[in-house]
Amino acid sequence: MSAVIETRGLRKEFVVRKRAGRFRRTRHAIAAVDGVDLRVEAGEMLGYIGPNGAGKSTTLKMLTGVLHPSGGDVRVCGFEPVPQRVRLARGIGVVFGQRSQLWWDLPLRESFDLLRHIYRVPPSEHAARLARCRSMLELDPFLDTPVRQLSLGQRMRGEITAALLHGPAVLFLDEPTIGLDVVSKQSVRAFLAEVGARGDTTVVLTTHDLADIQRLCERLVVIDHGRVVHDGTLAALHARYGSRRRVVADLDAPLDRPVAVPGADLESTEGGGARLTYALDQPPGALIAALAQTGVLRDVKIEEPDIEEVVARLYKDR
């Protein structure tokens, strides 16, 4: 396997002018991306996450040839993105949530047809890919509607289709589910999971949506202040930051003595003892058994470790 994306010491600085006195302005160079080393193999599905302003979009723009890096090396599909932008563009698909690749005044169908010519895709390949997207993303009801009249969820499904019609080796998605309703989110997520599962497309996505991360990202790269602070699986992230599963127990009556089991810490008591929350270091079986023996257990709920919490902790530890 060879690396589809490889960066070494990738940097991007922006010059910011600040007012200093009435007329004078001082110049500051701010590093939005500050030495990112990244290696992504063909077929990987990578989540690129971090707080707002961490440098996620800037990295993506450098990988796709939109922005010129201030320093470091970058190769995508074997190309240098900016000098070889046009050739790279044939090999990648890009969905930037806020920037449409579609033609505003044209029906979706015509945008797709136009893209076939722009990317010089053989008609049979184009038709096959479009047919797959049409059925999986349920495009047919709005295929003849001008893009400007589409709902956000419809448009996003159109954008994703547009990014895939030329059979890119890498699909970049910048917050593909932002602003979508639950149904659209699920539809988009299921589709992307399927694209990833086929293994012929490398997927890199940025997101703030934790369900996206849990569903889609085998590998997580967390970036903050332009630097990679974590690179590994979601489980590794939990292990590293000690996030734990929780058991929330609702009781019919408060207990005289709270249930105590090794590896389960009572974290909070609410409603005068009617709701107990434990944080676990071990599987929940022993604790639930102990709770059941009290005879007053009405309901029990197990909460998976919350990526949100991990990420929040990550962001706080700056």
């Binding site: 939109v66 010129h68 046009v86 563009a89 890009v94 930037f96 920037r99 449409s100 044209l106 010519h117």
Partner: protein, 263 residues
């Protein structure tokens, strides 16, 4: 080229939804061309001759320069909209397609609605040439055809070069217009009417004298009243080529400078 043509067709189909505005713009474009030439007529009518040129000769200069400008405006005039693309970050979408960025912008914003003025000025070149008593030879015929094309390349280069300022300076506003429309106004009149440094900078520095003034001298068979050597009048193609190269370099630097916007 086929891809760019497709882009243009797509744009045209989108625009076709706004049919009334199309015909309004065609009329406006033609109307403004007429007004500009009426302005030339009025000034010459009042003064008899200007800078050593008669009214008929002055109109020929104005028609040659006007045709070059209008043609450039028709093809690349919309490049000034680059500042909107840069400001809103829409330029991202342009850079993500496997086509040249400048070609895409031209194809996406090419507006036949601006053709009125170009057609008007081009039609006036033979009319004003006859009026000014041009003795036709095959070479002069060629000059009459090539001059507006060289002028178009020159003005097109100015359009592109000044539009790239938006990459560095997003609120560039009317900065570009002072060169493009300023250049058009400069080249409408005989270069002899301008003085000193101003003439040197605009006529030769930016090359605006080579859009209308020098080709007209060739057609009229007149030596340069400014005392330039005879070969100077033939430099229009060279001036246009140099301007195009310089504009290309500006453009490349500008795209590298592009900062996009946060999302």
């Amino acid at each position: 080229m086929a891809e760019y043509y497709r882009l243009f067709l797509a744009q045209a189909r989108g625009q076709a939804q706004y049919r009334a505005s199309f015909w309004f713009d065609v009329a406006a474009s033609t109307g403004f061309g007429v007004i500009d030439l009426l302005g030339v007529l009025v000034v010459f009518h009042a003064s008899g001759s200007l800078g050593g040129f008669t009214q008929a000769e002055g109109l020929l200069i104005a028609a040659l320069a006007g045709a070059g400008f209008a043609l450039a405006d028709l093809v690349v005039g919309s490049v000034e909209r680059i500042r909107n693309y840069v400001r809103t970050g829409l330029f991202d979408a342009v850079l993500l397609r496997p086509l040249g960025a400048l070609g895409q912008l031209i194809a996406m914003d090419f507006a036949p609605r601006r053709a009125g003025r170009a057609v008007l000025c081009a039609a006036l070149i033979p009319v004003t040439a006859v009026g000014a008593g041009v003795q036709w030879t095959p070479v002069r015929l060629l000059v009459a055809v090539l001059a507006p094309l060289c002028g178009a390349v020159l003005f097109g280069a100015i359009f592109v070069a000044t539009a790239t300022v938006a990459f560095w300076w997003i609120d560039s506003g009317e900065f570009a217009n002072s060169f493009t429309y300023g250049g058009r106004d400069f080249s409408t009149w005989p270069a002899t009417i301008y003085g000193g440094v101003f003439r040197r900078v605009f006529a030769y520095g930016f090359g605006f004298a080579f859009a209308g003034y020098y080709p007209a001298l060739i057609l009229l068979g007149r030596p340069d009243p400014l005392g330039g050597p005879p070969w100077l009048a033939w430099l229009s193609p060279l001036v246009a080529a140099v301007a195009a190269v310089v504009a290309g370099l500006f453009w490349r630097r500008g795209v590298r400078q592009y900062r996009s916007t946060g999302s």
